[in-house]
């Protein structure tokens, strides 16, 4: 038996899954000031007279990290950057406590300039004097050689409460994102740590030994104590929960579109062969582009409660919400009002909807139903256009080999899954516009909690071997070790698999959920002069986002 909990902006949902069926659901109001109290409430409500001993695990999807960032409830962070040549430091400065070092490594991880101890200690002194306790250390190309970052850490370790390292955030290249990710990780460190402690304390009051998991941005889970090491991994888990929810409710293994239509926005995700797509570099939060692995989604300001206005002979939908639909006493007409007038849904006060939409109809000089039809069509079309844009973006993703260009892999959706309040009235028209059959899964009102409950543990590992330098780097582990000049790709692949497995188990994965996949596999001969001097091997393995093993496709939830 699994308990899945999703903390949303308004409601917190809980679901109990037993033998892969939804046994119970519950919904309480979210108290953002005291999330622990919200957990307690929703847990009490749903557990009722259930036998606690039957509970195998609890999975939480929370807005904790996201809200800390959005609301600025963060630590002041000192940033120490070893940026080397490239972009001007002014473009890399993330806050007023950003300092630059002269030491750096190059793209092959070769140390070009040594770290200057005096430089580091004077920066450290200044940061301490400012009252800073949290520091991020980030080197350009530190994923190629983490030594520089760890070396700096050794120098200042005793000066601060917490140090975040760039190379631990991701194995991918992108220095500005690495800076932003490390910064956010350090910034939410205390808030998240406190939260985890509180959750653990609370859970102990129910049943001490029950494993608790947190949902991450990539739609995978992590044991809660492990997640505290990299809190930045838990940002934007809300959209991830929704996508995993649709995945678990959809029972589909082909390309598909997933829509979560809410009051203010519609979130779009794409499944490729039944697997949710990841952001190519990482998720973006509050303008910070990060390296945090996350499910690819696109949000558009069209929802059931979007404000509909009329300006310059044009009907404008959204992008903001100015209150509920007029049919529920809101100040402006909304797509929901249009759907009520058209008889697509039977909620609220139809007369109030007609008055609100009537104001626009008068200006346009057409009937109220006609205006409602226009509003409804336009809303659907805006969503469909954004979906098509997103698919085009994915299909036009640059590739770097002739093989991939010729292969020309393309997403072509075979189904549309819609959840959210206006799913029923809108799905049919959206399916028409997008040219695929639509489905509205059952239990979609608690899709997020189901998604959290059924998500498997995910992780990835990057291995780089440079047989000329005779060095192998396991990036995310911060490990470097000597290898022979005869080291081969095959050997690298098996090390990758082994390490990935260890990592996954440490993060709380079940043995049967470790479904590995090699996602990068490149070997280059290095030639200097006219001789081959070594090989540059680049491997990456992952456990991709998906549902826990044993989830029966044929009997989906």
């Amino acid at each position: 038996m699994i308990l899945g909990i999703d903390v949303g902006g308004t409601h917190t949902d809980a679901v109990i899954i037993d033998d892969f069926t939804v046994k119970k659901t519950a919904k309480v109001l979210t108290n953002h000031e005291n999330l622990i109290e919200t957990f307690q409430k929703v847990t009490d409500t749903i557990l009722g007279d259930e036998n606690i001993d039957d509970l195998d695990r609890i999975v939480l999807s929370t807005t904790m990290s996201t809200n800390a960032i959005v609301q600025g409830k963060i630590n002041t962070v000192g940033m120490i950057l070893a940026s080397g040549p490239g972009l001007a430091p002014s473009m890399l400065k993330i806050n007023e406590h950003t300092h630059f070092l002269s030491g750096y490594v190059n793209h092959r991880g070769i140390k070009i300039a040594e770290t200057d101890y005096d430089e580091v200690s004077s920066i450290s002194k200044r940061l301490k004097e400012t009252g800073i306790h949290h520091v991020g250390i980030v080197g350009k190309f530190s994923t190629r050689n983490p030594e520089l970052e760890t070396h700096i850490a050794d120098m200042i370790n005793d000066d601060f409460e917490h140090l975040s390292f760039g190379h631990r955030m991701s194995g991918n290249l992108n220095f500005p994102r690495r800076v932003a990710t490390t910064y956010l990780n350090a910034a939410i460190w205390d808030t998240y740590k406190t939260f985890v402690d509180d959750v653990l304390k609370f859970v102990e009051t129910i049943k001490a030994s029950i494993p608790i998991y947190i949902l991450k941005a990539d739609g995978g889970t992590s044991a809660i104590n492990q997640s505290a090491k990299y809190p930045v991994g838990t940002i934007l888990s809300g959209p991830a929960a929704s996508i995993m929810g649709i995945l678990s409710l959809s029972n589909f293994t082909e390309d598909a579109i997933a829509l979560d239509i809410g009051g203010t926005t519609t979130d779009i995700a794409i499944f490729a062969g039944g697997v949710p797509l990841l952001e190519p570099f990482g998720v973006t939060i509050e303008g910070h582009k990060t390296l945090t692995r996350g499910l690819r989604s696109k949000s558009i300001g069209v929802g059931g409660d979007s404000k509909v206005s009329y300006d310059n002979n044009d009907i404008i939908i959204g992008p903001e919400r100015a209150g509920p639909a007029a049919a529920f006493g809101g100040p402006y007409p909304t797509p929901t009002d249009a759907m009520i007038i058209l008889g697509l849904t039977d909620i609220g006060d139809k007369q109030m909807a007609e008055i609100a939409v009537g104001a626009i109809a008068d200006k346009m000089g057409v009937s109220v139903p006609e205006t409602a039809q226009t509003i409804f069509d336009l809303s659907c079309r805006k969503i469909a256009d954004t979906v098509n844009e997103m698919i085009e973006e994915i299909n036009n993703k640059p590739v770097y080999t002739i093989h991939e260009i010729l292969e020309g892999k393309k997403i072509s959706p075979k189904a549309l899954f819609v959840v959210g309040g206006p799913a029923k009235p809108m799905a049919s028209r959206l399916g028409e516009l997008l040219g695929c059959p639509y489905h509205i899964p059952d239990h979609s009102e608690v899709a997020n909690a189901i998604g959290a409950a059924l998500a498997r543990t995910t992780t990835e590992i990057t291995l780089l071997a440079d047989t000329e330098k005779k060095i192998m780097t396991l990036v995310e582990e911060g490990l470097q070790q000597e290898i022979s000049s005869q080291f081969e790709r095959q050997e690298g692949l098996s090390i990758c698999r082994e390490r990935l497995r260890e990592r996954a188990l440490k993060m709380g994965a079940q043995e049967e959920d470790i479904e590995m996949e090699i996602i990068e596999d490149q070997t280059f001969n290095m030639v200097r002069g006219y001789y081959t001097t070594g090989q540059n091997i680049r491997l990456k393995a992952q456990i991709k986002p998906g549902l826990i093993a044993g989830f029966r496709k044929e009997a989906s939830i």
């Binding site: 080397g84 040549p85 490239g86 972009l87 001007a88 430091p89 002014s90 473009m91 190059n106 793209h107 092959r108 070009i112 300039a113 350009k140 190309f141 991918n172 290249l173 992108n174 220095f175 500005p176 994102r177 570099f281 582009k289 036009n396 993703k397 640059p398 590739v399 770097y400 080999t401 002739i402 093989h403 260009i405 010729l406 490149q522 280059f524 001969n525 290095m526 030639v527 002069g529 006219y530 001789y531 081959t532 540059n536």
Partner: protein, 436 residues
């Protein structure tokens, strides 16, 4: 540095699965570290840098400018079509106004490919800039185009293709041909009789550094461009003038390339050579991208950059100043010189031997141009490769006059086919390509 930001398109195609041979300079590894540096700098996250996937050039695109023997499909592989296609994508994005400028960071290169193609020479099979330029003219109408070739090797292929075209200014700045492949590119190579002055060669002595290149840019190239008034500037952006390049002997730098692109401000840049894959290319390419996008590039330097250590000698300063003066005079007097030229025949021929080093082919070619004041002139080519494959080609120029067209059609129709394996007819005005 406060420059306006420009929207820059980047077509990045490192062809990680293609090489001429496994230890050849033109191999899989060539743009690997460039990719690392571009990704690590996060350039693709910048709002004014947009990456595009390259399209694929077609046989028609190639036939618009080349005479391939026996045909375009036989002398190219997918890699060449993507490389030329990448240049075309760059051109489309600029000419459709999606971006202000674009950089086709693609391989393999093309500037040693001449009009007639029997095989590969100087690592090139087809001329990707020329294919792009003719695509532009075909799609977006006639344009005056200036190609500034900053590769260390003389772009003898591009020169050959545009030798008779008064609407294409080809300026090559390169290491002196007496010291480097392909051994050509001297100031007296100045364009054909109908296009005198539309080819400018600026050979530089070995060990020329930033100072010399930028002197040539400011005192010769920019003034010539001011006179020529091109609709479009293309940088044939070879990167082998770098002080660490293994197959050349110059002392140019990443900073130098960035400054050059900043001042030249090309509409389109296309990568050509450059084989210092680890210590030069990552920095040069980041420098060029930033310069094109109008972003501060002053921190882009090689790890061992020391301008003093690679400074050129005073003798080189003097040599270059003198040469720039001479070439500038040549340019200023081009029209007088053209007017003074007396030809004792309507048709002028030149014979040349072309060696395809990459494929080991010898070609002997006789090219005949009709002296014409009204257009680029009717061109015929009689070419024989390895003493066997003899072909004949009739080429009607873009904007052809009625006489050149009539004579060209007549020659094609009446040429005795017997001595030739193939006879080609390329009508650039009407986009017709025939083979018999």
């Amino acid at each position: 540095m406060t420059k306006p930001l420009r929207k820059t398109g980047l077509i990045f195609f490192p062809a990680f699965d293609w090489a001429i041979s496994s230890t050849h300079p033109e191999r899989e590894e060539r743009l690997l570290y460039t990719q690392d540096q571009v990704f690590e700098e996060g350039l693709l996250d910048l709002d004014n840098i947009i990456e595009y996937k390259p399209g694929m050039a077609t046989v028609d695109d190639i036939n618009r400018i080349h005479i391939c023997v026996p045909d375009a499909a036989s002398v190219t592989t997918e890699s060449h079509l993507i490389s030329a296609g990448g240049a075309i994508t760059a051109a489309d994005k600029v000419l459709q106004g999606e971006v202000d400028n674009a950089f086709a960071l693609v391989r393999p290169p093309g500037h040693h490919s001449m009009m007639v193609v029997h095989g590969a020479r100087g690592f090139c099979n087809v001329n990707i800039e020329a294919i792009m330029v003719e695509y532009i003219r075909h799609t977006y109408g006639p344009k005056r185009v200036a190609i500034i070739d900053t590769d260390c090797h003389h772009g003898d292929g591009t020169q050959d293709i545009y030798w008779h075209d008064p609407d294409t200014l080809y300026i090559s700045i390169h290491q002196d041909g007496r010291t480097l492949y392909p051994g050509s590119g001297f100031p007296d190579e100045f364009g054909g009789p109908n296009a005198l002055g539309a080819t400018i060669n600026i050979p530089l002595p070995p060990k020329t550094s930033e100072e010399g290149f930028l002197y040539v840019l400011d005192n010769l190239i920019m003034p010539i461009l001011d006179d020529f008034k091109p609709d479009l500037i293309v940088n044939s952006a070879g990167q082998d003038n770098h002080y660490t390049d293994p197959i050349t002997d110059m002392r140019f730098t990443a900073q130098g390339y960035a400054i050059l692109n900043d001042r030249l401000s090309p509409d389109i840049a296309v990568l050509e050579g450059g084989y210092s894959v680890e210590t030069a290319l990552p920095y040069i390419n980041v420098g060029i991208i930033l310069a094109m996008a109008g972003i501060d590039y002053s921190y882009v330097t090689e790890p061992d950059y020391d301008p003093q250590a690679i400074r050129q000698s005073p003798e080189i300063n003097q040599y270059i100043e003198k040469e720039v003066g001479l070439i500038h005079d040549l340019w200023n007097n081009r029209e007088a010189k053209k007017a003074s030229m007396k030809y004792n025949s309507e048709f002028i021929s030149r014979t040349k031997n072309v060696y395809y080093d990459t494929d080991g082919i010898h070609e002997k070619q006789t090219e005949t141009i009709r002296v014409c004041d009204d257009c680029g002139g009717l061109l015929t080519i009689d070419s024989r490769a390895n003493y066997m494959n003899r072909i004949f080609a009739v080429i009607i120029p873009r904007g052809s006059c009625s006489t050149c067209r009539k004579k060209g059609e007549e020659i094609f129709n009446t040429t005795d086919q017997k001595p030739f394996k193939y006879v080609y007819f390329q009508d650039r005005e009407r986009d017709v390509f025939l083979v018999k």
